[in-house]
């Protein structure tokens, strides 16, 4: 019996549909304390005072953790990729988004924890917020981040992700038509059924057992180990079964704070975000602002593309520079465009930091470039399938980064849809393949694009 290619039953299917799977929230540990967070009530402010003494002395309150309790307050989750740290685990000098955690409380029950949160004395000096990425560059814009209003630590300390290929001026000079448009997909929530949830148990042997809904056990373990400055053998992550993530559970949103509270109180602790916290305080998919100008010929060749992207990172960098880089690598979509000039900025705003979500960096580019492609076809009066097939990635074409495509499938997937929709294609488009360009599909402007797949 073949296993690969077979419609075998899901390994965990019966457990899931009969409600017998153990998710983090199903773990029960006697003596558990409950966690609530003091969060910023405003979009941007300087913190001028934080006094937890009254809350600490309340009956049933076992531990309160603020920035002072964190061994390493700022840790860059993608330090390995050269993205430095900018975000404190708990706010110290200022708050930069509504909902930012400032202190966390562990108490006998959720109501007591919430009462203690409300008893913490917080003094803020509110500051003007920046919310529109397009206005971040204005001379009168408030400066909201220690690096300025956009990320400036790309390779060679560049302040933008840049792609340059070919001769963009030649393309626009030789174009019959230049089509320009602006594309703005929205921030959306991940909406997992399971909200952020974590249980941490301090073991007698000094280890911490961390029940986590993370999408990445080792990644999150590395984050906790870094903030707590502990070797990995002090931590045991238990998880691997997640009630929906879609990218939002790469954030390690709860594990570190719960670990600090467990160590400080010596008791098991549990933090289960409310649905409202999940909607308002958890990270979101980023909103993007994209402007495209394509230099095209009247018969549908795309000679060149100029593009500006402003990625709304929210208050801190998190994974945004990574997402923007991925975005830039794919800004030609499923097509081969020889002349390119792309500039992308990861812009800070005073909203919840944005993060990975299904299609990270590319969902935006697919919307922008494909809607633009439909517009180009419409402006030129050409068939939208044919324009796409003509410019499609072919085996041997090179990417914006000069990588040779080995197995592109723009052509067969488009042909399959044309057939399914009863969309008549001319014979030469019906019989087109994904193989190396030649003949009419290899015009002068694409000759230099054809490389050898064996090179990579």
């Amino acid at each position: 019996m073949k296993a690969v290619g077979a419609r075998l039953p899901r390994y965990d299917g019966v457990e899931h549909v009969t409600g017998r799977t153990t998710f983090v929230d199903d773990v029960r540990v006697p003596g558990t304390l409950w966690v609530k967070a003091l969060r910023s009530p405003v979009h941007r402010a300087d913190i001028t005072g934080l006094d937890t003494s009254a809350a600490e002395s309340m009956p049933g309150v076992h531990a309160i953790v603020s920035w002072k309790d964190v061994p390493l307050l700022e840790y860059g989750h993608l330090a390995a990729l050269g993205i430095p740290a900018d975000e404190p685990l708990l706010a110290k000098d200022d708050v930069r988004y509504k909902g930012q955690p400032i202190a966390v409380v562990a108490a006998e029950d959720e109501a007591t924890a919430q009462a203690a949160v409300e008893a913490i004395k917080l003094d803020l000096n509110e500051q003007p917020a920046l919310l529109d990425v397009r206005k971040a560059f204005d001379s009168d814009a408030p400066v909201i981040h220690q690096w300025g209003n956009w990320y400036n630590h790309f390779e060679a300390e560049m302040d933008r992700r840049q792609i340059r290929k070919g001769d963009i001026d030649w393309a626009f000079e030789h174009a019959d038509t230049i089509v320009q448009g602006v594309y703005r997909p929205a921030a959306i929530e991940h909406v997992p059924l399971e909200t952020q949830v974590c249980q941490v148990v301090p073991e007698a042997n000094g280890r911490l057992t961390i029940y986590s809904c993370t999408q990445a056990l080792y990644f999150s373990m590395g984050v906790v180990a870094a903030h707590l400055q502990l070797p990995l053998n002090r931590l045991k992550f238990v998880g691997g079964t997640v009630g929906g993530g879609f990218g939002g559970k790469v954030d390690t949103a709860t594990e570190t704070m719960c670990s600090l509270l467990a160590l400080k109180s010596g008791r098991p602790v549990k933090w289960r975000w409310t649905r409202e916290e999940e909607f308002l305080c958890s990270s979101t998919r980023a909103p993007w602002h994209m402007e495209i100008a394509d230099a095209v010929t009247k018969d549908g060749w795309i000679l060149g593309r100029k593009m500006l992207t402003l990625h709304d990172s929210g208050a801190y960098a998190r994974f945004s520079p990574y997402g923007l880089t991925k975005h830039s690598f794919h800004h030609t979509g499923a097509y081969t465009i020889p002349n390119l000039a792309f500039d992308g900025y990861a812009v800070f705003t005073n909203r919840v930091p944005t993060t990975a979500m299904r299609g990270f960096g590319v969902t935006s580019i697919s919307f922008a470039t494909e809607t633009h492609m439909s517009r180009v076809a419409d402006v030129l009066g050409l068939d939208p399938y044919e324009v796409r097939l003509k410019n499609a990635n072919r085996i041997g074409d090179t990417s914006p980064n000069r990588v040779v495509y080995t197995d592109p499938s723009t052509v067969p997937t488009i042909q399959a849809i044309a057939e399914a929709m009863g969309h008549e294609l001319p014979a030469d488009y019906r019989t087109m393949t994904r193989h190396t360009r030649e003949g009419e599909l290899l015009p002068e402007h694409l000759v230099a694009q054809v490389g050898n797949p064996e090179d990579h």
Partner: protein
């Protein structure tokens, strides 16, 4: 007042594995004394089905039934590194790690079986839980008997470990974006057609049909592939016409903090979804597979936007395509500005209109 029908189309691509790579996955496998297989990997299953997919790869690679596999990703004490379940990497990258570990286990089973049968391991193969001599099927020993012989006779543990890591692809020219290695494990492709109905009185967009084609390289489990594609389509529908954290972005006003004020797709929103799977194998994925988990929600928004234009002649390029945006678009009947060979859409949204001039989008004429 009428309902207008329209059709739109989009074609997309998406990389498998973390951008620029450098994202390892590891696995180890041990065999119980009766031949049953324990797989340890650190891959979180976020509903994507990676427990199932990796179990199938192990069963196929060793040559034993699927229900002999126990898969344990429950904790970091027993499971080795997996960078994580994101970047469409669980099938390709983590799947490749378990395939490599399974190949080592297979090799060890053949070695012990060779001793038991007194046949060169190179002349043996494993099929459906039995080790059989090539060309002489009467000479055979079951995998449970091999495992028992290893445990009680030879004093050996049948085990194997594997790891998959594509080296980090550095950006060697930050000015141009040139990289020194392919910055992905594979690229996957898809295309989507959308059919919509737009009510020009209420502005409501109803997506009535999505027809989608994915080149998945190899469908390890076609049912789970269809699940990813259909689930992704629903999420793409949400992106296209329903969901927004900030309905008046960039303003933060009217942010919804509950299901009643944040519109995620429900059953009543679902269109007819037709799925076509094609298989052009990837160069080096497990059994030719590519990752398609994430891209499954990328093609619908542009296909829907084009369908709305086909229906009512209005381009809505801010998502989601809400009734308010449709009605404002119908009212404005905006035409692009034409100047020389330039056709300029959406000028009011451009940084050139909103910024006080310190950032510009300059387009040569």
């Amino acid at each position: 007042m009428a309902v207008h029908k329209g059709r739109g189309f989009a074609a997309i691509e998406y990389p498998t594995g973390m951008n620029q790579n450098g994202d390892p996955s590891q696995a180890w496998i041990k065999v119980k004394p009766d031949g049953r297989i324990d797989v340890f990997a650190g891959t979180s299953d976020i509903g994507n089905g990676s427990k199932t997919i990796q179990s199938q790869i192990v069963a196929e690679t060793i040559g034993v039934p699927y229900d002999w596999i126990t898969y344990d990703n429950s904790n970091t004490d027993s499971s080795p590194v997996c960078t994580g379940t994101f970047a469409s990497r669980a099938t390709f990258v983590a799947g490749k790690a378990v395939e490599k570990a399974a190949l080592k286990v297979r090799e060890k089973i053949l070695e012990i079986a060779g001793k038991e049968l007194e046949i060169d391991p190179g002349d043996l193969e494993i099929e459906d839980g039995e080790v059989v001599a090539k060309g002489a099927p009467q000479k055979k020993i079951s995998v449970p008997d091999v495992a028992a012989a290893a445990t009680w006779g030879h004093g050996e543990l049948i085990t194997g470990a594997g790891a998959q890591l594509k080296p980090y692809a550095a950006i060697v020219e930050p000015e141009t974006g040139r990289v020194d290695l392919p910055p992905h494990s594979a690229i996957s492709y898809a295309a989507c057609a959308a059919e919509v109905e737009v009510d020009d009185e209420t502005g409501e967009v109803r997506v009535t049909r999505l027809v989608q084609c994915y080149d998945v390289g190899k469908a390890i489990n076609p049912t789970l592939v269809e699940g990813q594609i259909e689930g992704g389509a629903v999420q793409g529908l949400g992106l296209g016409v329903l969901e927004s954290c900030y309905p008046y972005y960039p303003s933060v006003d009217h942010r919804g903090g509950e299901f009643g004020s944040y519109l995620a797709p429900g059953m009543e929103d679902l269109p007819q979804i037709d799925t076509i799977i094609i298989e052009n194998p990837s160069v080096d994925g497990p059994y030719g597979a590519k990752g398609i988990g994430e891209m499954a929600n990328n093609s619908q928004p542009p296909a829907i936007a084009a369908a709305v234009y086909d229906a009512i002649g209005v381009w809505v390029t801010e998502l989601p395509i809400t009734p308010e945006r449709v009605l404002r678009g119908l009212e404005a009947k905006a035409e692009p500005r034409r100047e020389g060979k330039k056709v300029v859409f959406d000028e009011e949204l451009s940084v050139n209109s909103v910024s006080n001039g310190s950032i510009r989008f300059e387009v040569p004429a």
